[in-house]
Symmetry: C2
Subunit: 454 residues, 2 copies
C-alpha cells in the first residue's frame, strides 16, 4: 500500500460511508473543468456533508502531506478547482443547506455547497434579493463564489461577492474552524480572517458556510440595449446611465458576439446591425425610470439605437443576447480567456490595442464582452494552441500597463500565476507567500494556485 | 551611544529635517491617550510626510529590531496608539493631503493623516457624502479609522469603515509597499492585502493613503429622539424604524447619560424625563419621511415620547444630547470603557445583567450608550481603580456568552488582548499569530497590540 493509499484508507474509516470515493469513473466528472482546458488526475474524491467532516479531511491531508483541491460547482475558468498530480478533490457540494432569511437583518445563512441560484431563490421567497448574478448561477456554489470573490453583471450596482459576506465559516489547513456566523455588524476582535479568505481561491482555508447580506426587493426593473458606434460613445453613455437611479448593470459586447449569439440561438439583432458596440443596461428600484433614462440620453453626442424592455419576458428577450455568450464561445472550441479590468476611462485604448494584438495572430478570432461599468473585459481568443500563451501574456501585460488587473473576477487559479507580477509588486507577492506559508505550512491546500509553486 | 540611539541617529540622517524628534517636551503630547488611562515613554517621534519616508522608518526599525507604534489622531480608546517601553511613535498626521473627488466613481483619495472631518468636507463640497461619523471626527484620521475599522453612528445604514475602502496604500514591516489605489471595482489578483490591513490596528502594516467610496448627497434628513420604558420596547421601535426608508442612525443612551449631559451642558430633557431608555434615530434620503415614520410608530405596543427635528439646527439640538457623551463621562474621571456588541435581540438581557454586575461594584456608576441597530453597547463604568479589571472581564465575558464580541468598533489595542479568547477560538488566535509573524517576523510593528506578547 502506498503512503497515499494508507491516508485514504484511514480517511475512509473516519468519514461516513460513501464520503470518500476512489472509483475512477466517478472521479472523472471532477477531473476536468467547464472550459475543457484544464484537467488532471485525482487520487480520491471526498464529499463531506458537515464542517466537522471537512476538518477531518483537512487535518488528515495536512498530517500526511497529501495535497487537496477544494471544488464547488466546477464552473471556474482558470483551472483553480481541477485536481493536478493526484490531489484529492474536496467537493463542497454536499454542504448544500439553505437556511431561513432573518428579516430583521435581511441576512441568509447557507452552506458553501448551495448554488447561487438556490440562494437567490431563498432571498426572493422572502421578498428580498441577493444581488450577485452571472450565467453559471445554476451550478456555481456560494463557497466557490466567495473563494473567487465572484463579480458578474450586478457588480456596478451592488459590488462583488465580498460585499455580500456578512458572516463566514471556514476550516483552516490544520483543521481549525473560523466561525463568524453571528452576523454582528461591528466585530473587530482581532484580524478579519473572513476578509482574507474571500478571494483566496481555496489556498488559505476551505469555506464551509456563509451568512449573506441581502437587499430589499426591487419592484420595478427596466432593461435597455443600446447600439453605439464605438467604445468612446459607450463611455459617454455610461456617464449618463449613472445619472439614472438604480443602475445595476452596464454590460457590453462587441459585434462578433452579437453575430455569434444570433447565429447560434437563431436570433436577429434587435437593433438592425451595423453597430460598433452594444451596451446592455438595467435599472432596478421603486419607480419607473423610463422618463429619467430618456432625459439622460438627450445629452449624448450621438443618438444610439435602443431597445427598451419593461416586463420580465421582454427583459429576458434582451438578456438572451448577453447571457449565452460564454456558452456560445465554448461551442466554438477551447478559447483563451483573459479576464482583465482596466480603469473605465482606459477601455477605448484597451479595446483598440487588443484588436491590434489579435489581428497579429493569424487565423484567430476575437470576442470581447464584459462589464462596462467595472472596466472588466472578457477577452476570448480562439486560434492559438491551448499551451501557446503568447497572446494571453500580451493582453494581460497591456491591461496591467493601463493601470488594470490581470484578474478581475475569475481569479488567478493555475492559469495566471506566472503573470501575477504584472500587476503586483515583488513585495506584495512576497507578503502573499508569507501569508500562505503561515496558514498552510505543509502546502496542502490547492498548491500552485494563486501563487506559483516556489 | 546605545543601540537605539544609533538607529535614531541613522534615521535622522535619512529623513528630512525635523521629521525625527527626541525632544521630551514634544514627545509628551504623543505619550498619553485621550482617556488618560494609557501612557508610556517613547524613544522618539517620527513624522514622515510621504509613503517613502514611512517605508524608510519601517525598514530601519525592522532591521534594528526597534519597535514602533503607528499613531493617527490619538483618539483611540484601547491604548493601541500609545507608545510603551521606549517604542518609536510613528505619527501619520503629516500625510494629510486630501485629493479631488472623482465624480464618475464617487471616490476620494486622501492621505492617512487627513482627519475624518476634512474628508467629510471634501465629499460635501462635491455634493456627496462620506457616511462614517463619530464624535472624534475633528481629530481622528482616516488611516486610524481604517486601521481600527471605525464604526460610529451611521454604521446601521452604511456599514463600517471597511465598506468605505475602495483602495488602500500601505507599507509593510519590511518597507514594501501595498498599492491598490486604482479604484478598480473588480480586482482579484492574489490575496486582498488591503482587507487584511483594515482593522489590524497597525500591527500588520502602516496605512499611508486610502481611496474612499462616497455616496450621493442626501437632500433631506429627519432626526427623532424617543423616550421609551425600556430596551424591549426599544427593539420593537427599531423594527419599525427599519421599515422607514433611509434609516442611517439608531443610537441609544440610558437615563444616567441624559442626566449627565443635561447637567454638564446646561440642557433639559426635551422629553420631560422619566424614561427607561432614549433612542436617537435619523433618516436621510430624497423624500420627507415624516408620514412614513408616523405610520410606522402606530403599530408600537407603547406610545413613545418623541421629539422630531427636520432642519439642520433642530437636528443639532437633538444630537446635542448624544454627541457629548464620551466627553462628559471623561470629565467625571477615568472610566472603564467596554465596547461590546451582542446580537440585537440579546440587548435587553445584556443590559439587565450589566446593571446587576455594576450594582455589585460598590461606589461605581454606570453609563450605557451606543448603537441600537448594531447591538453595539458602550459600557462606561466609573469607580474601580484603573488596574482593577474584574468588572471589565465580567462584562466582556457576558457579551461573548450572548454570542457577541469583546470589541465592536474601538479595537483590541492593549486593553483587550488578554480577553480575545472570550470570543475567538484557540485555532483562530493561532492563525492570527501566524499571520502576524509572517508579515512582521521581527515583531516591531505595534507589538503587544491585538495579540498579547507571546
Amino acid at each position: 500500500m502506498t503512503a497515499t493509499a494508507a491516508v485514504l484508507e484511514d480517511l475512509r474509516g473516519r468519514l461516513p460511508a460513501g464520503a470518500l470515493a476512489t472509483d475512477r469513473d466517478l472521479l472523472a466528472g471532477f477531473e476536468v473543468d467547464i472550459t475543457g482546458r484544464y484537467r488532471g488526475i485525482a487520487s480520491a474524491l471526498a464529499r463531506p456533508r458537515t464542517r466537522e467532516e471537512v476538518a477531518t479531511v483537512l487535518a488528515a491531508c495536512a498530517a500526511a502531506g497529501l495535497p487537496l483541491v477544494p471544488q464547488g460547482g466546477n464552473t471556474g475558468l482558470v483551472g483553480g478547482g481541477v485536481p493536478r498530480d493526484g490531489e484529492l478533490v474536496l467537493s463542497l457540494t454536499g454542504l448544500d443547506w439553505v437556511g431561513e432569511v432573518e428579516p430583521a437583518t435581511m441576512q441568509l445563512s447557507v452552506g458553501a455547497g448551495a448554488t447561487l441560484e438556490r440562494a437567490q431563490e431563498a432571498a426572493c421567497r422572502a421578498g428580498l434579493e441577493l444581488p450577485i448574478d452571472h450565467g453559471a448561477r445554476g451550478a456555481a456554489t456560494i463557497g466557490g463564489s466567495i473563494a473567487t470573490d465572484a463579480g458578474g453583471s450586478l457588480a456596478v450596482g451592488h459590488g462583488t461577492m465580498r460585499q455580500r459576506v456578512a458572516g463566514l465559516e471556514a476550516v483552516l489547513a490544520d483543521g481549525a474552524a473560523v466561525c463568524r456566523m453571528g452576523g454582528l455588524l461591528k466585530d473587530n476582535a482581532g484580524y478579519d480572517l473572513p476578509s482574507l479568505l474571500v478571494g483566496s481561491e481555496g489556498t488559505l482555508g476551505v469555506i464551509t458556510a456563509a451568512r449573506l447580506q441581502l437587499e430589499p426587493g426591487r419592484p420595478r426593473r427596466l432593461a435597455a440595449l443600446f447600439g453605439l458606434p464605438g467604445m468612446e460613445v459607450a463611455l459617454a453613455l455610461l456617464a449618463r446611465l449613472h445619472q439614472v437611479a438604480g443602475l445595476e448593470t452596464a454590460d457590453f459586447f462587441d459585434p462578433a458576439c452579437m453575430e455569434l449569439v444570433c447565429a447560434r440561438q437563431g436570433l436577429e439583432d434587435p437593433l438592425g446591425g451595423g453597430h460598433g458596440v452594444y451596451v446592455l443596461a438595467q435599472f432596478a428600484g421603486e419607480a419607473d425610470v423610463t422618463e429619467a433614462l430618456a432625459a439622460a440620453l438627450e445629452s449624448l453626442p450621438a443618438e444610439p439605437a435602443v431597445a427598451i424592455a419593461d416586463g420580465l419576458a421582454e427583459r429576458e428577450r434582451l438578456w438572451a443576447y448577453r447571457e449565452p455568450l460564454n456558452e456560445s464561445i465554448r461551442e466554438l472550441g477551447v478559447a483563451h480567456k483573459m479576464d482583465v479590468a482596466v480603469p473605465v476611462e482606459a477601455l477605448p485604448e484597451f479595446e483598440r490595442r487588443v484588436r491590434e494584438l489579435a489581428a497579429g495572430v493569424s487565423g484567430s478570432s476575437l470576442y470581447l464582452f464584459g462589464h462596462l461599468g467595472d472596466g472588466n473585459v472578457h477577452v476570448n481568443l480562439l486560434g492559438p494552441a491551448p499551451d501557446d500563451e503568447a497572446a494571453d501574456e500580451a493582453v494581460l501585460r497591456l491591461a496591467a500597463s493601463l493601470g488594470g488587473t490581470i484578474s478581475a473576477e475569475h481569479g488567478v487559479g493555475i492559469a495566471k500565476t506566472r503573470f501575477l507580477s504584472l500587476c503586483r509588486s515583488e513585495g506584495e507577492i512576497a507578503a502573499m507567500r508569507a501569508l500562505k506559508t503561515s496558514l498552510d505550512p505543509a502546502g496542502v491546500l490547492a498548491p500552485g494556485r494563486v501563487l506559483a509553486a516556489a
